[in-house]
Amino acid sequence: MPENPVLRRRIRGRPLSAGGYGTTASLVLVSPLILLLVSAFAYPVGRLLWNSVFTPEPTLAHYARIIAEPLYLIVLWRTFEIAFIVTALAFLLGYPVAYAMARVQGRRAILVAACVLVPLWTSVLVRSYAWIVLLQRNGIVNTVVQEMGLSKAPLQLLYTEGAVILAMTHVLLPFMVLPIYSTLRNIPDEFAKAARNLGASAPQAFLRITFPLSLPGAAAGTLITFILALGFYITPALVGGPSTLMMSTLIAQQTTELLDWPFAGALSAILLVSTLLLAALYRRALSFSKGFSNG
């Protein structure tokens, strides 16, 4: 290839890759974002956490309260328990949906995709409202149950742990399905077919070829669902009640009703640290970190 002197000079003039931006320019470009994240994210969150350790003076008393009072330990335990059950249910229900989404063709494919994407694109508030409508005393589920003669009196479904789990599984299911779908879609169907040709049964081919290859997506989906479930507020606040208090609803209660900011800060710190540890643990599996695969 003939050398282009202009091109060469241009490139030599810039220390970086061709046409890239230098350090100063890059810093200028990224500074509005940094300013925004510092003032509207890092500083407020930092202040909340600071309060939990330095009110009134350096103390761990607010953290000790969480461990000392059984009520708060129960809330902590319940949060992880619900997040775990929701994630497990979402995986069991979501994997087959993701598989169908990746393998089904034509009209049916559009139907499956619509059933996954329409709820995802619907506001969490709307979906929680729908579950209230379904589960309340004179709601649809109770009407069906009574008409089938399964129960004479309306069942108390709303404001129970079961309701929270059901509604949260519904709300978070698409976050499980989509990462699994995106890995399954990239596994050629020929792999399983080759295994079948070599004498594997259909379940064997799935369990030993397709499923292991889909594990990165499954890990990402599981992690995202668990992280979101841990800190979820809207659905537990609307569908749950006092007996289903979770970390998020407890934090809200401490700030809006009791105005106990240091204690809310301590609870937030625990929620935050659990979330960040999980995120760091599986950072490679998280699909959104793939957006910047230059490092």
């Binding site: 890239g20 925004l36 909340l48 709307v126 809207i234």
Partner: protein, 261 residues
């Protein structure tokens, strides 16, 4: 036989996924004022009530204004940052990337409570500026991710060619780079709009008696007076989301089909 069971199971899960949306839409056009299923009759009166109620309208306009300004701010800030992250030479790039997606990972309840603590003394609660700052922070990661992905698909040699032909940096950006990454920028903008318009947790905490978003108003009404007007509002919200996201999805698939062929 196994296939039949698998198909049946799958249909049940899909039904579970779509059922709540169908319930809300059918309730919004039912005549009875308490929740009944199957809904009786057909009416648009709940929609009429929504559009005639000054409180609902005030909340809707407030949310639209917030979402509009947020979209603009997040798209500009996010696009500039994405350029620096993908094409620039940035000290501590890994760190900046991690911090950029932090608002997506950190539970919204923590962000909401923290923002309330900081914004309340500054008079930024129930206030357009407070909301725009908070929502831009929440929306900007979506823009950085989508524009970043678009920039990685863009061939830097094209920009270099423009520079060689005598274009300035700005000219090269507006005439060569931007038109090529425009689908990504537009998608980022739509995500930012919905991240603000549908946002409920932070809005719940930093709303005021005067400045109240549509999501905060819905939250209150769901908690205190469950009328079919909420179903009508929900349907409107859902249709807005579906229209915007559907457009993006169709554009994305068309784009994919083009680059495959």
């Amino acid at each position: 036989m196994a296939r039949v069971f698998a198909g049946l199971g799958l249909s049940l899960v899909l039904f579970f996924l779509i059922l709540p949306t169908l319930i809300v839409i059918s309730m919004s056009v039912g005549t009875s004022s308490y929740i009944a299923f199957p809904p009786e009759g057909f009416t648009f009166k709940w929609y009429a009530q929504y559009f005639q109620d000054p409180d609902w309208m005030a909340a809707t306009w407030f949310s639209l204004r917030i979402a509009g300004i947020t979209t603009l701010a997040a798209t500009v800030i996010g696009t500039l940052a994405a350029i620096a992250l993908v094409r620039g030479c940035l000290p501590g790039k890994e760190f900046v990337q991690a911090v950029t997606i932090a608002p997506l990972v950190v539970p919204h309840i923590v962000v909401a409570v923290a923002l309330y603590l900081t914004f309340a003394p500054l008079g930024l609660t129930g206030n357009l500026y407070g909301f725009v700052i908070a929502h831009t922070m929440l929306a900007v990661p979506y823009v950085v991710i989508t524009v970043g992905a678009a920039l990685q698909r863009f061939d830097p040699a094209l920009e270099l060619a423009a520079l060689n032909c005598g274009a300035t940096r700005l000219q090269a950006f507006f005439h060569v780079v931007l038109p090529n990454i425009l689908p990504g920028v537009a998608a980022g903008g739509v995500f930012a709009f919905l991240a603000s318009f549908d946002e409920a947790t932070v809005a719940f905490f930093i709303s005021g008696i005067e400045g109240k978003t549509i999501t905060r108003k819905m939250f209150e009404d769901i908690d205190f007076n469950l009328t079919p007007v909420i179903a009508a509002v929900s349907t409107v919200l859902t249709l807005v989301s579906l229209a915007l996201m559907g457009t993006i999805e169709i554009a994305r698939r068309r784009n994919e089909a083009n680059s495959d062929g």
